[in-house]
């Protein structure tokens, strides 16, 4: 796997993990300001990494596809073993 691609995906996965943990916690603790702050910080980090990833390696959602070509269907898909 391309190392820049791997690096960006790692940032996205890690921020997604924190965002998911914050979201589940905030569902039952909606007024916890520290969790809300962490959630916001990670969203900003994630957005930067997703923009860079999609620009270089293709869309992560159908909405992230560029208008000029349909890269959405390009391999690899998430369950594919990569060399």
């Amino acid at each position: 796997m391309n190392s820049e691609k791997e690096k960006l995906m790692k940032v996205i996965r890690e921020s997604d993990f924190v965002i998911q943990e914050c979201a589940l916690y905030l569902d039952t603790h909606p007024r916890d300001s520290a969790a809300l702050r962490l959630y916001g910080d990670q969203q900003a980090l994630r957005k930067k990494a997703v923009d860079a990833y999609e620009q270089a390696f293709g869309p992560l959602t159908t909405a992230g596809n560029q208008f000029s070509s349909w890269r959405w269907i390009d391999d690899p898909w998430p369950w594919d073993l990569e060399d």
């Binding site: 996965r13 589940l24 569902d27 039952t28």
Partner: protein
């Protein structure tokens, strides 16, 4: 509605196929305590749930379980790549093979297909949350049992991640249970059903 993200929640890259392992791990896709049952349980319990915190947690955990089902599908798929007929026979994968070749089909380790008979949507906030807490523990035990059988680090890493998520979800459902109880009569939580009695 839902939007698909073209990535796994935790990476699955298994270099060595092992159909015997696939045969048991598939239970976390379509088995009684598997990810698909978990997702269907939580997402369907949402509609009658009266408390916003609990609507949120059922939606968000139910959604995460779909990502877990996809990880199990990826594990099973990668464990059954490039098999010879000899390997299929030796691993005891032949019964699965005749029905599904190497397609991923949601079934239990014992072979019975995915069924909603293993889950409940009872229409009672306390009852459903106790079911959800139990479901997370049953899934955690299943991952513990699988981890006893696996020795490939490529398989152990995603299974350990998924096991840990069961523990986190158990804790969050515990918080949701507290929210429900806080809304009820503390002298008798069971005096009425907040999903039916108004």
């Amino acid at each position: 509605m839902w939007t698909y993200e073209k990535k796994l929640q935790f990476p699955v890259q298994i270099k060595t196929p092992n159909p015997a392992m696939a045969k048991v791990i598939i239970t976390q896709l379509g088995g009684p305590d598997g990810e698909l049952a978990a997702s269907m349980r939580y997402l369907n319990q949402r509609y009658s749930m009266p408390y916003k915190e609990c609507k949120g947690i059922l939606t968000d955990v139910g959604t995460e379980e779909l990502a877990h089902a996809e990880m199990i599908g990826a594990i099973v798929h990668q464990l059954t790549r490039c098999l010879s007929v000899e390997e299929i026979k030796e691993a005891g994968f032949d019964a699965y093979f005749v029905d599904h070749t190497t397609g991923v089909y949601p079934q239990a380790a014992a072979g019975f297909p995915f069924t909603t008979a293993v889950l409940q949507s009872k229409g009672d906030a306390l009852t459903d949350l106790f079911e959800d807490l139990a479901a997370e523990q049953k899934a955690r035990t299943t991952y513990d049992n699988l981890l006893r059988l696996v020795d490939d680090p490529d398989v152990i890493a995603p299974l350990k991640f998924l096991r840990e998520r069961e523990v986190v979800h158990f804790q969050r459902f515990g918080d949701a249970l507290r929210v429900v109880q806080d809304n009820l009569d503390c002298r008798n939580f069971y005096a009425m059903n907040p999903e039916f009695d108004k």
